[in-house]
Amino acid sequence: MVMFWVAVLAISMLLYVLLDGFDLGVGMLSGVAGSEPRRHSMMSAVAPIWDGNETWLVVAAVSLFGAFPAVYAILMSAFYLPVLLMLAGLILRGVAFEFRYKTQRMRWLWDVCFSGGSLVAAFMQGVMVGALVEGLPLIDGRYVGGEFGWLSPFAALCGVGLCVGYALLGACWLVKKCEGDVREAAYRLIPHLSVGLLAFLIVVFAYAVLENLPVMHRWIERPYLLVLPATGALAAIAMAVGVIQRQDQIPFTMVVLIFVASFGTLAISFWPYMIPFSITVEQGAAPESSLAFMFWGEGLFVFPLMLIYTTISLSVFKGKIDANSHH
């Protein structure tokens, strides 16, 4: 039962990162769009699906609270500021999405909210991952690091890294969905963003291995697991080929593969810890009766249904967007 909820949580988080990742990325890129028609195309490329994407953030939160309350309590109190800033960023950007078309005079302000909110949300998510990899100061299962305990150069680097990663996801999505000069501009950005992301991933992986002996042992004992980072590297090469040949579908598929590989690499490095080297999956899990109570409703029905809903939304919205459509 614990493993079932680990799987639910992992799938929810991965889906969130992939789905909201590309629309946060598009949000950040819209800040440098340059012109209104371009910005309009970019926003149309995510308009029908962005709120569906964000539901995975909520599914992840309630799965964490319900199935791993101890971990939820530690993480939320440790990440008080980043979580609340992330939420404020997400709300502002959601509102900006809906209201920018209602005004001409104030549109610039909503555009700032849209790209700024996306940037803040993405940066905070990266910071939290970084702080978690570095390790949180805990005493008796309570966070004792203070309100800025999560802030460090490494965490900030991870924040920047995730912004670059999301921007790359966003650029690849734009290549897939748009035509004309938006597609061209996105193609030109992809090489810069992907080099930045790969450099960042290598730094983080090296840091995790060198700073934490248990992580190093994991990789030395089970070298076959290196297939994951290797998949990421191959995907990066395939993406480069796709970009050179201007094959619109390939870059997004490949960047998704890179993200899945990185996510898997991170998870394997620290398994079975949920909070590295303090709380394991078993220690963080709710008792069997709580997990079973949730399983019969949420696990068996709602979660599969959310997966189906996401699949249908994405498949209805496939193909290039119509550049002349009005939001």
Partner: protein, 457 residues
């Protein structure tokens, strides 16, 4: 003055949850009204029911969207503000909160989409069914979160091991002793809230001489509903109060500002409670009124505030005055509903303009009563987070006061923007009024509640 992090954390949570409760208490009631309109439309075939249903569905979409957005914040705040509580009681509250959130998203993923976008695309029967499913679903969502909240007032069927609550019997946890009282009181409040909004909009159109068919239907239907539900709320509230007296007598003592339990209690129409001297000032009271209500005996006794030490007493001003605001609005609602019923019976409802002028302005009554009611029950539980088991001071996250104050200011600004825009948008929809049915299919696929309202606003 040294800021108190517990007080600030409470204030922040109160702000975000009070903002949130506005939307569910409206959408639960409104979805039931939309379902009724859909059924009437299917049954009678009269087109103005269809126009009304389409009109309120758009307003429902905006409100549901704002409810979801403000709810997302809450699903994180259990941890950011109350990590001590989440760690100790997450095994019980977590799954219940999970069911609430996922019920809401289950709806959004299925029937809400059909209700919002399916009008001209799916068979009429399926559309009616979706409207009913959304109405039932929003009530089920409330079912779960009220269950979690009630358990915090009347915890049962748990075992504490190393400071962490473990569930023993889920049936008993879900149907804990105060649950059904709180649920019926809250659901009825939601129907009353929406009823007064619909009444106000109908009355405005009548006064302005616009959309007369629809306006008469709205006013007639809402008066019919309120005539039954407003008096019923008095009964449900009374029952809830008696249940509270059994399980949380000190909350009742604070509601009645009753200090000395050795004497029968008066009902104070007004008073200024003075906690330092343990008495009331400026009392205007009905002698033995509180004893009569609570024990059905003018000489009956019930515990007073002084029966527990000062540190175990709730903040009496919040509880006492919020209770009076709720009661005052409740009696206004009953009067308005009964008088409206009388006018309807006499056939004078649509041309008694002074009455319409009043109810056209009182759309907000349900919202204020709901928030006041929640202040009574939540402040009345203080100083406990979970009655008798965990103090709020032990539940709070280790976050300094200045940080909480900063994020509180941030939420006030962000929610201020969201709320202003939402109200502006709903007002525009109301000003425009019910429209002829769209026959052309929408141009492109689009998901999300706000997108639905956007179609032709």
């Amino acid at each position: 003055m040294e800021a108190d992090p517990v007080l600030l954390a409470r204030f922040q949570f109160a702000f975000t949850i009070a903002f949130h409760i506005i939307f569910p208490s409206f959408t639960i009631g409104l979805s039931a009204y939309i379902a009724t309109l859909e059924i009437m439309w299917g049954w009678t075939g009269r087109e103005h029911y269809g126009r009304l249903s389409g009109f309120w569905t758009k307003i429902f979409a905006v409100s549901f969207g704002m409810g979801v957005v403000s709810g997302i914040v809450l699903s994180y705040q259990f941890g950011t503000n109350w990590s001590g509580f989440s760690a100790a009681f997450g095994n019980i509250i977590g799954p219940l909160a999970g069911y609430e959130v996922l019920t809401a998203f289950f709806l959004e993923a299925t029937f809400l989409g059909i209700l919002l976008f399916g009008r001209n695309r799916v068979p009429r029967g399926l559309h009616i069914f979706s409207a009913i499913a959304v109405a039932v679903g929003t009530a089920i969502s409330a079912f779960w979160i009220i269950s979690a909240n009630s358990w915090m007032h009347t915890p049962v069927a748990y075992e504490m091991r190393n400071g962490v609550a473990h569930p023993l019997d889920w049936w008993a946890i879900v149907f804990n002793p105060s649950f059904l009282y709180r649920l019926t009181h809250m659901l009825n409040a939601a129907y009353l809230t929406a009823g007064f909004v619909v009444l106000a909009v109908g009355a405005r159109y009548l006064l302005a001489g616009r959309h007369l068919d629809e306006a008469r239907t709205m006013v007639r239907m809402s008066i019919g509903l309120l005539f039954v539900l407003a008096p019923l709320q008095l009964f449900l509230g009374d029952q809830h109060g008696l249940n509270t007296l059994k399980h949380q007598p000190i909350k009742i003592a604070a509601m009645e500002a009753h200090w000395d339990g050795s004497k029968p209690g008066d009902f104070h129409i007004f008073a200024w409670p003075d906690p330092a001297n343990e008495r009331n000032r400026f009392e205007i009271s009905i002698p033995r009124g509180a004893s009569l209500i609570l024990t059905h005996d003018p000489n009956g006794l019930f515990p007073g505030l002084t029966s527990v030490p000062k540190q175990d007493r709730p903040p009496i001003h919040n509880v006492f005055f919020a209770f009076r605001i709720m009661l005052g609005i409740g009696f206004f609602m009953i009067a308005a509903a009964l008088f409206g019923g009388l006018l309807l019976w006499r056939g004078r409802l649509f041309d008694t303009r002074w009455y319409l002028r009043i109810v056209a302005q009182t759309w907000w009554t349900g919202f204020v009563a709901v928030i006041a009611g929640w202040v009574v029950t939540e402040s009345g539980r203080q100083p406990w987070m979970v009655q008798g088991l965990m103090r709020t001071a032990d539940a709070v996250s280790p976050v300094p006061a200045a940080t909480v104050a900063t994020t509180l200011a941030m939420f006030v600004v962000v929610y201020g923007i969201v709320f202003t825009m939402g109200m502006y948008y709903i007002n525009r929809l109301i000003a425009k009024g019910p429209q002829e049915q769209l026959v052309r299919p929408p141009k492109k696929f689009s998901a999300g509640p706000l997108a639905a309202a956007k179609g032709d606003a």
